[in-house]
Structure formats: C-alpha cells, structure tokens
C-alpha cells in the first residue's frame, strides 16, 4: 500500500527512518561501519601481519592524527554512533532479520558499556584492576587491540546477516520499507543517458 502525501506528512522521524528512508539510511550507516572496520583491520594488520610494535600500530588515521587513536575520542564516539544507529534502525527490521539485528544491538550495547567505563576511568583518574591506564573489563585476559577487534567482529557479523535477510526479495511483503524491493531499471529512473 502506498500512502498519500497527507498521511506521510503525519509520520514522525522514527517512522520515516524505518519506512521510506530506511533503505538509504541503512546503506549510509553500513558505509560508516565498514570505514571504521577497515581502520581497525588496518591497525590489526600492522600488529599481526606487518609485526610492527604495538605502540606504533596506530591505524590509518593514527598516522596523520596520532592523538586521535591514543585519546578515547574516536573509539567512544564511534561506539556511540554505532549503538545509536542500531537502535534507531531496529524498528524497520522484520522476521528473522530483526533477531539478528537485535543480537548485534545487544553486543554493541556491551561494547558501549566497555567504552563508557574506559571514559569514566579516564575522566575520574581511577582505573579498574588497579591498572595505571583505563582498562576494559576483559582486558586482563585479552590485550585491548585484540579484544576490541573481536568486539567489532562479533557486532559486524550479525549485522550483515540481518541486512542480507532484510534485503531478500521474499522479505519485501513483510517490510515497511523498500530495502527488499526489486531493483529499479536505470531507464525507468531516468538515468539511461547519464
């Protein structure tokens, strides 16, 4: 069913975000996620493939802005953006896709708790486990670059599964958005001559 302009004008932001805007919002969001993911992989490759000393493995952005990696700004900000995106876009998911997206949201929720705890330690000046530096809950067992790489991976995988399920053609009847709608022909979209 296609709504009229009067009806759609009454829709709130969250309804629009999970309806007509869901497809575009989802792909923009995923692009942000992948860019951050690549940054983490870059740092991981520096440590475990190029075997650079850990303090020198600053990722791609860290080469240009070392303070960005060493401060908590980038990590906390990204964790917050990612969690917010997961929560805001959740209502648009239906069926099994919703379960996977929810799983990703819960794991990212824990990841955000970890980063918030790191922030609080940095601000207050008292750290967990008597450590001289801000420390994650699981950091005594797994060093931080590995731990947060794994966190990001286990958030990323269910997110991709959810998006794959959500965009399957069979899902179109369930969705309130266009994410699973058939592709638009370039000619129909008026792009044939572009």
């Amino acid at each position: 069913m296609v709504g009229t302009s009067e009806q759609t004008a009454e829709m709130g932001f969250i309804q629009k975000l999970n309806g007509p805007w869901h497809e575009r919002a989802l792909w923009i969001y995923l692009a942000i996620v992948v860019l951050h993911w690549i940054e983490h992989l870059f740092q991981a490759a520096q440590i475990w493939i190029l075997e650079m000393p850990r303090p020198e493995a600053l990722g791609a952005l860290g080469y240009v802005f070392p303070w960005l990696v060493k401060s908590e700004v980038m990590h906390f900000g990204y964790a917050l953006i990612m969690f917010t995106g997961l929560v805001l876009l959740l209502p648009g998911f239906r069926g099994a896709a919703r379960g996977w997206w929810l799983a990703s949201t819960i794991i990212q929720g824990w990841h955000l708790v970890e980063h918030s705890t790191l922030q609080i330690q940095a601000i207050v000046g008292t750290n967990l486990f008597g450590s001289p530096v801000p420390t994650s809950f699981l950091q005594p067992f797994i060093p931080r670059p590995e731990l947060h790489l794994v966190y990001n991976l286990i958030v990323f995988i269910p997110m991709i599964v959810a998006m794959w399920l959500h965009t399957r053609p069979a899902q179109d009847a369930l969705n309130d958005c266009n994410c699973a709608a058939p592709p638009v022909e370039r000619a129909k979209a008026g792009l044939a001559s572009v």
Partner: protein, 180 residues
C-alpha cells in the same frame, strides 16, 4: 500550546546536557595497554605494583614502567628508585596516573628490574622482575584478520552496488502505520 512549548524547551535542555556530557569524555585522554609485571608486592610498609605501559605521547612510544601504590601513597619525602640491569634509571612522579612514579625511558625484554622505596633513612626493595617477551596473541589473529578483510571487502562491494540502487529508487511511502 503552552504545554508543547514546555516540552520543546525540555527536549532542548536534555539535548544541551547530552552535548555537554559528551564533550567531557571527548576531552579525556586514554591509553592503550598496561601489563602487570609485579602485583601487590609488600615493600616495607607499602603495597606496590609494577606495570609496563605504552605511553600516549606520539614521539616517545617506548614501553616504560610505572610503579603504583595500591594501598595508600608514601609520604612526600619518600623516593622511588628503579634499577634496570643494575643501573639507576631516571624516575619521576607520574603526570598521568595519580599516586604513581614512572621511568622516562623504556625497557627491553630480559632486562632485570628492581624497585626500591626509600623513606626517612630506611629502604625497602621489591622482588626483582625480568621483563617478559612482547605480548603474544591469545587468539588466532592472522586467521581472524584474513576472514575480516575478506568480509569487509565483500561488504564494501555490496554497499557500492546496493547504495547506487537505493539512490536510483524514488522514495516511496508504504504501509508505515497507515493501515488504521
């Protein structure tokens, strides 16, 4: 009308407070890793720990040592000294960790470190510590990275194709809460 105005003002206030509370963490300075070399050792009247830390200053990135006092700070007159392979190294009060002393130079694997606390003519030494080899992975990191790179590349390609498709499609409104 007045109620709506009050609600909008409340939302603006909440947004402002949220922005301020986010600014504080943004200014906080973090660090990466610190591994314990000695935990809660009894040194005279004090309990100390020794950590190897990767400092967060861009140019001085040699792992160095921090001595933390776990159960209360020593008096102002107390001096913490560290010897690495029997040679004294320069120590200073830590500017980043409250109640701690730190070296200004790094240490290498197999260096032998001893910590001494001197106070009012008395001195106490902690057990010597041998700097262990660099950290090793507890996870199969190379395999994890290979899988992750493949996954990221596949998803990046998928994003490219689907984003182009999403932007070709006109935004249409359907179903969303319109049944009623």
């Amino acid at each position: 009308m007045g109620r709506m105005h009050a609600m909008r003002s409340a939302i603006r206030l909440i947004a402002l407070l949220a922005a301020v509370s986010l600014a504080l963490p943004a200014m906080a300075h973090g660090d990466h890793d610190a591994r314990p070399l000695l935990r809660r050792a009894e040194v005279g009247p004090y309990t100390v720990s020794v950590w190897q830390v990767y400092p967060d200053v861009g140019s001085a990135i040699i792992p160095h040592l921090i001595v933390t006092f776990d159960d209360g700070m020593p008096d102002e007159g107390a001096v913490v000294s560290v010897r690495v392979d029997s040679e004294n190294v320069h120590m200073m009060r830590s500017v980043t960790t409250t109640g701690a002393w730190e070296t200004t130079t790094g240490v290498e694997p197999d260096d032998v470190v001893s910590v001494t606390i001197s106070e009012r003519g008395e001195a106490w030494s902690a057990p010597t510590v041998v700097i262990p080899p660099p950290l090793t992975s507890v996870l199969p990191m190379r395999a994890l990275i290979a899988i992750s790179i493949f996954l990221a590349a596949a998803v990046a390609w998928w994003i490219g194709s689907r984003t182009a498709q999403a932007w070709r499609r006109p935004i249409t409104y359907r179903n969303v809460g319109l049944e009623g």
